[in-house]
C-alpha cells in the first residue's frame, strides 16, 4: 500500500474510498451473479454432465492423466536442471569455442517458441509424444535455467573467487566449494519459479496427443453420451492445475522471503531477478 501515488487518506478521502469499495463490490457481485445465472441457464449443472465424474473409469482416466502430467514434469525438471548446469558451465568456461557453442545453443532455444520445438521433435523427427514433450521442455527450460545459473555464479562477489584462488584452490574447487554454494542460495527462488513454468507447459502435451491431464479431460468433454461437459471438465481440471502451480509458486516466494531474512545472506544482494514466469 505504500506507493508514491497516494497520501495517507483523510476523513473525506476515506469516505470516498468506502464508496468506491462498495461500487466495486457491487459490480463484482453482479458479475459473479451473471456467471452463475449463465451456468444455470446453459444447463451446466445438469446431472448428465456431472454423473460421469462418479464413474470409476472416468476417475481413473483423470488420475492417470494427472500422473502422466507429473511424470513429464519431474523428468523435464530433472533433465532441465542438468542441461542448465551443463550449459551454464559451458558459458562460464575459459575455452572460447565451448563458450561460443554454449551461448549459441542457449540463446537459440530461448528464442524459439517452445511449441515449435515440440512440434518439430514430434512431427519432423517422429518421436513419441512423451519423449517429444520432455525433450522440448528440457531444451527450453534448461536454456533459461542456464542463464539463471550463470548470472547467479557471476553475482557472487569477485573477492570470493579471488580469495579461493589465492588459497591455492583449483578452478573446479573454486566453483564447487566457493561459488556454487553461495550462488545456489540466492538462485533457488528463481529456479523454482522456472519449474512452475515447466509445470504449466506440460499442458502443451495436449496438443501432441500426449495423454496428460488436459488431454484426458478433453476425452471426457467431447463425449456425446455425457452431453459434452466442457465446462464441468474445466471446473474440475482448472483448480487442480492452478492449485499445483500456486503451491510451487508459493514455495518459491517462501524461499525468497526466508533468504531475505536469513542472517547468513543478509547484505548480499539476491542474485537474479526472478525470470518472467511465462
Amino acid at each position: 500500500m505504500s506507493s508514491a501515488l497516494y497520501d495517507i487518506p483523510g476523513p473525506k478521502a476515506l469516505a470516498r474510498h468506502r464508496l468506491y469499495a462498495w461500487i466495486t463490490t457491487a459490480l463484482l457481485a453482479a458479475l459473479v451473479g451473471w456467471i452463475i445465472y449463465m451456468l444455470i441457464h446453459t444447463a451446466q449443472f445438469e446431472s448428465t454432465k456431472w454423473v460421469p465424474f462418479e464413474y470409476q473409469g472416468i476417475q481413473r482416466l483423470l488420475l492417470t492423466g494427472l500422473a502422466n502430467t507429473l511424470k513429464a514434469f519431474i523428468w523435464a525438471a530433472v533433465l532441465s536442471l542438468a542441461f542448465g548446469a551443463l550449459f551454464a558451465a559451458g558459458r562460464l568456461s575459459e575455452h572460447r569455442v565451448i563458450r561460443w557453442v554454449s551461448t549459441l545453443v542457449v540463446e537459440f532455444f530461448r528464442a524459439m517458441p517452445l511449441l515449435v520445438m515440440i512440434f518439430f521433435i514430434f512431427i519432423a523427427l517422429k518421436v513419441e509424444p512423451m519423449m517429444a514433450l520432455i525433450t522440448g521442455l528440457t531444451l527450453y527450460n534448461g536454456s533459461v535455467l542456464a542463464e539463471v545459473f550463470r548470472t547467479g555464479v557471476n553475482s557472487v562477489s569477485r573477492g570470493q573467487g579471488e580469495a579461493a584462488y589465492a588459497l591455492g584452490m583449483r578452478k573446479t574447487q573454486v566453483m564447487t566449494y566457493i561459488l556454487v554454494p553461495q550462488a545456489a542460495r540466492a538462485m533457488l527462488p528463481a529456479i523454482i519459479s522456472q519449474l512452475v513454468v515447466a509445470l504449466k507447459d506440460t499442458s502443451l502435451g495436449y496438443l501432441i496427443t500426449y495423454e496428460e491431464f488436459l488431454y484426458n479431460g478433453k476425452l471426457i468433454a467431447t463425449n456425446l453420451d455425457y452431453d459434452l461437459p466442457f465446462i464441468p471438465v474445466v471446473m474440475v481440471i482448472a483448480p487442480i492445475y492452478i492449485g499445483m502451480c500456486m503451491l510451487l509458486s508459493w514455495f518459491a516466494n517462501w524461499l525468497a522471503r526466508r533468504e531475505r531474512h536469513n542472517p547468513k545472506t543478509k547484505g548480499t544482494p539476491v542474485a537474479t531477478t526472478p525470470p518472467q514466469q511465462i
Binding site: 500500500m1 505504500s2 506507493s3 508514491a4 501515488l5 497516494y6 497520501d7 487518506p9 478521502a13 474510498h17 468506491y20 469499495a21 466495486t24 463490490t25 463484482l28 449463465m38 451456468l39 441457464h41 446453459t42 451446466q44 528464442a111 524459439m112 517458441p113 517452445l114 511449441l115 515449435v116 512440434f119 518439430f120 512431427i123 519432423a124 512452475v196 504449466k200 507447459d201 506440460t202 499442458s203 502443451l204 495436449y206 496438443l207 488436459l214 479431460g217 478433453k218 468433454a221 459434452l228 466442457f230 465446462i231 474445466v234 481440471i237 482448472a238 492445475y241 492452478i242 502451480c245 500456486m246 509458486s249 518472467q276 514466469q277 511465462i278
Partner: protein, 214 residues
C-alpha cells in the same frame, strides 16, 4: 529454399496471422495490465483484492488450459465469437497479468519521497501521476514489458492448434503437399525469429532513448 518460394503466400498468411494475434493481444494486454496495476496499487481494498486474484490465477494457469476453456468452453456457455477473437482475448488476459506485475513493480521503484514532494508542491493527483511517477516508472518497466511481449509472440503459436491461422499452423498443409517437413519448420522458425528479434530491437532502442541510470 523451394519450400518458402513455392508457398510464399501460405507463409505470408501465417506470418501475418501471428503478427495480427501478437499486435491485438499486445495492445489489449498493455491496456488491461496497466488498469489492473492501477487496481493493485489503489487505496481501495476491494480493487486490490480483485487485482491480486486476477494476477495470481492467470499467472498460475497453463496457457493451453486457458485456450481450452476460452475457445472450447465459452461457446458452450452461450458466447459465440470468431476463434481469432477468442484467441486474442485468451492471450491478452494471460499476458495482462505479467504486464500488470511489471508495471506495478515499476511504480514501486519510485521512492515515496517523490510523491510526497510532488504533493507538497501542491500538485494534484493527476499531475503527480503524469509529471512525477509515470515518467520514472515508465523507464523502469520498458525492458520487462519487452520480454513479456516477446513471450506473447511465442505463446501465440498455441492458437494455431485451435484452428486459428498463424505461422506454426502452416506446417500442416505443407506436410500434406509433400514438402520437406524439416525445411518447412526451419522457415517457420525464421518467421518467429524475425518477430521476436524485431520486438527486442524495438525495446532496446526505446530503452536507450528513455532509460536512465538511477
Amino acid at each position: 529454399m523451394n519450400v518458402l518460394l513455392d508457398n510464399f503466400s501460405l507463409y505470408g498468411k501465417g506470418f501475418l496471422g501471428t503478427l495480427e494475434l501478437t499486435l491485438y493481444a499486445g495492445v489489449l494486454a498493455l491496456v488491461g495490465g496497466v488498469i489492473i496495476a492501477g487496481f493493485r496499487v489503489s487505496p481501495v481494498k476491494a480493487l486490490r483484492v480483485f487485482g491480486t486474484t486476477w494476477v495470481t490465477v492467470l499467472r498460475n494457469t497453463p496457457l493451453t488450459l486457458l485456450f481450452f476453456a476460452v475457445l472450447l468452453g465459452l461457446p458452450r456457455f452461450g458466447l459465440r465469437l470468431p476463434f481469432t477473437t477468442f484467441a486474442v482475448l485468451a492471450l491478452a488476459c494471460y499476458t495482462s497479468a505479467f504486464i500488470c506485475e511489471a508495471v506495478r513493480s515499476g511504480i514501486n521503484t519510485v521512492p515515496l519521497g517523490q510523491g510526497e514532494a510532488a504533493r507538497s508542491l501542491g500538485m494534484t493527483f493527476i499531475q503527480t501521476l503524469n509529471l512525477v511517477v509515470l515518467p520514472q516508472a515508465g523507464r523502469a518497466v520498458i525492458s520487462p514489458i519487452g520480454s513479456t511481449l516477446i513471450a506473447l509472440a511465442k505463446n501465440s503459436a498455441i492458437a494455431g492448434s485451435f484452428s486459428v491461422t498463424e505461422l506454426l499452423g502452416t506446417y500442416k498443409p505443407l506436410n500434406e503437399l509433400g514438402y520437406s517437413i524439416i525445411w518447412s519448420f526451419i522457415w517457420i522458425a525464421v518467421g518467429y525469429l524475425i518477430i521476436t528479434l524485431s520486438i527486442s530491437l524495438l525495446f532496446n532502442v526505446l530503452e536507450k532513448k528513455m532509460g536512465v541510470v538511477r
